[in-house]
């Protein structure tokens, strides 16, 4: 019989081994993704543009309605909340500043990233996972085609372009939401509100939001691909990995958001 100490060491060792395997798998996939997206095109291996455009339509264009509705509501909610405080000090016009700045700097990118995580991050994990379960990934390898280049890179290119693009759209619709509420229920003058927003916003605010959005696109693709390629069994595991992909990508999006926001606070 192993002693208690031995048992503890055993289970710690087993945990450590599985963690180290996870780290190895994750770093391998990150390495592969970056190699096939950024280095191999320089060596004359072309990217799959048609597949990328296809992915852009699926991940970007098709999520326009949901991004629009959510951003519009967020804009209204923000304007309400800002007005609740600001009208007590008679500074209702500053609703425009608050809505504009918080949407472009924070809520536009993060809401977009969360929607894209839910739509595309899960779809990536499910698609790659079921390809793995159906031996399609093996088939690609055996044809001498790298599965990361073939499946993941078009998705990465799509999200690197579409998450910032959706963010711009979301910024615009969010500000519009705040505007609609302010000129109707809060009875502000439209021109005043518009000018106040334009004066409040700096190019920097929009740019930092877009840089974040670009990074979120990479995070969502990488997590989806990692979970998808981890599938070894059948349909049940595909479901489990899909859920894990959504949870992990939302978590990592927020972690990266914290990191970037801290950086921008000190360095811009």
């Amino acid at each position: 019989m192993p002693s208690i100490a031995e048992n503890i060491l055993n289970s710690a060792g087993r945990k450590a081994r599985s963690i180290s395997r996870d780290i190895h798998d994750a770093s391998k996939i990150i390495n592969d993704i970056f190699f096939w997206s950024f280095l191999s095109p320089l060596k004359g291996k072309p990217l799959r543009f048609r597949a990328s455009i296809n992915e852009m339509v699926k991940a970007g264009y098709n999520s326009v309605p949901i991004v629009a509705v959510i951003s519009f509501f967020i804009g209204i909610i923000l304007a309400f909340q800002a007005a609740y405080q600001l009208k007590r000090v008679g500074a209702l016009i500053y609703v425009a500043n608050l809505v504009g700045v918080s949407i472009t700097r924070e809520l536009g990118p993060i809401m977009t990233a969360i929607i894209v995580s839910g739509r595309s991050g899960s779809a990536f994990a499910a698609e790659i996972g079921s390809m793995k379960a159906a031996e399609e990934v093996d088939a690609l390898i055996s044809m001498g085609i790298n599965p990361v280049r073939f499946i993941v890179v078009p998705k990465l290119i799509a999200l690197m372009i579409m998450v910032p693009a959706l963010t711009i759209f979301s910024d615009f619709i969010g500000i519009l939401g705040g505007f609609v509420l302010s000129v109707t229920i809060l009875e502000m003058h439209p021109v005043n509100y518009f000018l106040q927003t334009v004066n409040a916003l700096l190019v920097k605010d929009v740019m930092t939001g877009l840089i974040k959005a670009w990074a979120f696109g990479i995070v969502i693709t990488t997590v989806g691909a990692y979970q998808g390629f981890k599938v070894t069994g059948g349909a049940e595991e595909v479901g489990r990995r899909t859920t894990a992909a959504v949870v992990a990508s939302i978590f990592l999006v927020i972690v990266f958001d914290l990191f970037f926001t801290t950086m921008f606070y000190y360095f811009t």
């Binding site: 390809m131 159906a134 031996e135 399609e136 093996d138 088939a139 690609l140 390898i141 055996s142 044809m143 001498g144 085609i145 790298n146």
Partner: protein
Amino acid sequence: MENAIQVSGLVAHYGEREILKDISFFIPKGMTTVILGGSGCGKSTLLKHLIGLLKPTQGQININGKNIAVLNENELNEVRKKMGILFQGAALLNSMTIADNVALPMREHTRLEETTIQIMVRMKLDLVGLSGFEEFYPSQLSGGMKKRAGLARAIALDPELLFFDEPSAGLDPITAAGLDELILKLRNVFKMTIIVVTHELPSVFTIADYVIMLDAGEVIFSGTLDALRASVHPRIKMFLERQPEQETYSPEDYFKIIAGE
């Protein structure tokens, strides 16, 4: 007899479990070799090693004089261009049409004109009897048709080596016989070296020139079909005569098993 593949001292593990136990054999060129064995004997694992999807723990796999166990990914891809594989479930890419699936290896590995590729795709599909299905998606085809389409993709680059993983699994006898006929045609007309992993006996007796039999991770037979029929090895006889595994434990042992001791 010239060899297409030479395997020596191959040991393979899945985690801690030893699947292939130091096996050695060769596969003759220009013939159809069947790798035979019951479920769980390691034949699918062996196939994955032969096509370079898994790396062995030990041993050599020589294909055309190159040991693929030590090649890096780029060198391995060069070897893979001369191989075609039909997977058990055909493994067609579901997001692409049949024509695009068959064209995929040509588009990736050759610099042929698109019009030439189109003609070649139609030739390959005609060869497997799927003319007119170019614009169908894999989900719109039956199991047998999917396998034929998978075969068309496997022979897209006119490989020297063609692997089949359980070609008749899940097919009705007529469709399976049709696939066997195709395998014979490919060997006779195109002189390909064909390796078939299966446990379907009727199919074995139709297509095999040379048989390798695996049991519990070891090679228990390699030779011609006639030698297989004449073999007196008890496991081979059981397999060919479809006898069930004998009850090997005594009533006392059985009691211990169900009591969980």
